[in-house]
Symmetry: C2
Subunit: 315 residues, 2 copies
């Protein structure tokens, strides 16, 4: 099966509704909305680095797109399309069919169409570039956090990174299905991001871990931050591990794909109502402060002497 046959069989779904041209030309064409901007993000997933060689192709299809949609969510953008570049050691039809199924199941739920891409022979890697609309000036950036703002996080955190460790240790088969789903098929928080355009002052998605990603907000906004560890929404699945280990996982684990955002205190009630409407827990975990450092306060309000993982942003 050659490149063109492969594209036709698994990835060509006819003219894209949101592109003036569809796939199969030198470029894809995007028609922007009036007074709109285009948010664009690109992530490459490489075998052995971002996924295990025996990953289920359905899950890989889902996750390759999900990590990109999560970036769009963190900008408050509404996804509309993506480019897919795959490097494949060979053309295994069953594998490709399942990969495409996982990919398009997620894409379709978010109205996100394949606009073009590229296939090549090589070590397995998936590069996706995803596009979203955002009204001019409305994008959620990392640099808008203000001292006095609350710090919020969506969903639960810490479980997926712990699950990765369990898999590395050969205990993956014992993981619960809920946790496996969270790790392998994360749900990008698109609806939340769009609603936060008018409520949040800064946002980022949690891919590198809470402290690391908060570091980016702190750095870009030139502020400091405090986290109350007692209120962190630690994944229920971590109930079996020690509380100290669970907190560390929530602070420094990655792969959560939840949104971390800051918002002025006057928006608390609106954010609470939003969480209920979306049926998604939104937890106020701390606050933005003057300065440049991140402090984690224990249950008695004392700063932790040592943070789980050192990070260049930590003062």
């Amino acid at each position: 099966m050659g490149e063109f046959e492969l594209i036709r069989r698994f990835f060509d779904r006819g003219p894209a509704r949101r592109s003036p041209l569809g796939i199969g030309d030198d470029c894809a064409l995007i028609a922007p909305r009036e007074h709109g901007q285009i948010a664009v993000t690109s992530d490459v997933l490489v075998e052995g680095r971002h996924f295990f060689p025996d990953v289920a192709p359905f899950d890989l299809g889902h996750k390759s797109l999900a990590v990109n949609l999560s970036d769009l969510a963190a900008m408050g953008a509404e996804p509309f399309g993506f480019l897919l570049s795959v490097s494949l050691p060979g053309a295994d039809e069953a594998w490709l069919g399942s990969f495409a199924e996982g990919l398009f199941a997620l894409a379709d739920r978010h109205g996100c169409e394949l606009l073009g891409g590229d296939t090549t022979a090589g070590p397995l890697s998936i590069a996706i570039t995803a596009f979203g609309h955002v009204p001019a000036g409305a994008a959620l950036r990392r640099d808008g956090a203000q001292p006095g703002d609350d710090l919020w996080v969506s969903g639960e955190i810490g479980g997926p990174s712990w699950a990765v460790g369990e898999r590395y240790a050969g205990r993956g088969a014992a993981l619960g299905s809920g946790l496996v789903a969270r790790l392998d098929r994360p749900e990008p928080r698109i609806a939340l991001g769009i609603e936060l355009r008018h409520l949040a002052s800064a946002a980022i998605d949690l891919s590198d871990g809470l402290l690391g990603d908060l570091g980016h907000i702190v750095d870009r906004s030139r502020v400091g931050a405090e986290i109350d560890e007692a209120v962190l929404p630690v994944s229920m699945q971590l109930a079996a591990v020690s509380p100290e280990r669970a907190i560390e996982q929530a602070l420094s684990g990655g792969d959560d794909y939840e949104l971390l955002f800051s918002a002025p205190p006057e928006n608390r009630a609106a954010i609470g109502a939003l969480g209920r409407r979306l049926n998604l827990p939104l937890t106020r975990i701390g606050r933005i402060r003057d300065g440049a450092s991140i402090v984690v306060l224990d249950a008695r309000g004392r700063p932790r002497a040592r943070l789980p993982r050192s990070h260049e942003h930590f003062g």
Copy 2:
């Protein structure tokens, strides 16, 4: 050197003029022009497949972007930005410095700014997504060729693919510097593509070889085509090989990164003047016909019985 340090040292050149946000957020933001569309293309270059492991990093930086800009040229788009995702086995500073130098030298010549991207550890591969502006409705597509149109090609063809073969055969050191430059640092035909918006009926860039790429125009436009092999602008560097071999290379070799386009006969004079203005040979190599097949005519106007490489588009 970690990911962020690597980005800062080699790829962060401060706020982008053409992006409302610059690099370093979850997404890049693009502000479209009024009444404009965005052309977008993505190509991945993988070691061993698209370049030799000992490629000069300056050339790899140039070529990774050039193949994408060539796609923009073939759409008549004006480049303004790109995303860069690199997978690197390690962070070799000299290598990265030279790669960035080659990349930005080409980018700067075309006003094309780095808007964001991604770095990861893994087998060497370079994925670039490039963006260009094009007025709504003005993009050069593959599906606009009409029976009766002339068929044109820019520059010279056949040399780069022959040079690849010489390298594979261990005779790369004997290649002339002009040919090496054409292969390793191809010049995307941006200015030509922009000028052709009002002159050409269809266009494509030559990456897979003349017959293969003409096959895409023929297929998408639902037409046939005739090529006069005697007038093909075969690379001067092929003077040393047999005429038959040179013609085959021009017909079926790839890696030319010239533009192949169709245009109504009434535009001949304007296209001739354009070639002189750009100091770029534009050669009329044949015509678009009814039907669905590609015919190559020899010097006496007789159809070649056998085409150099069979292709599913050939009837």
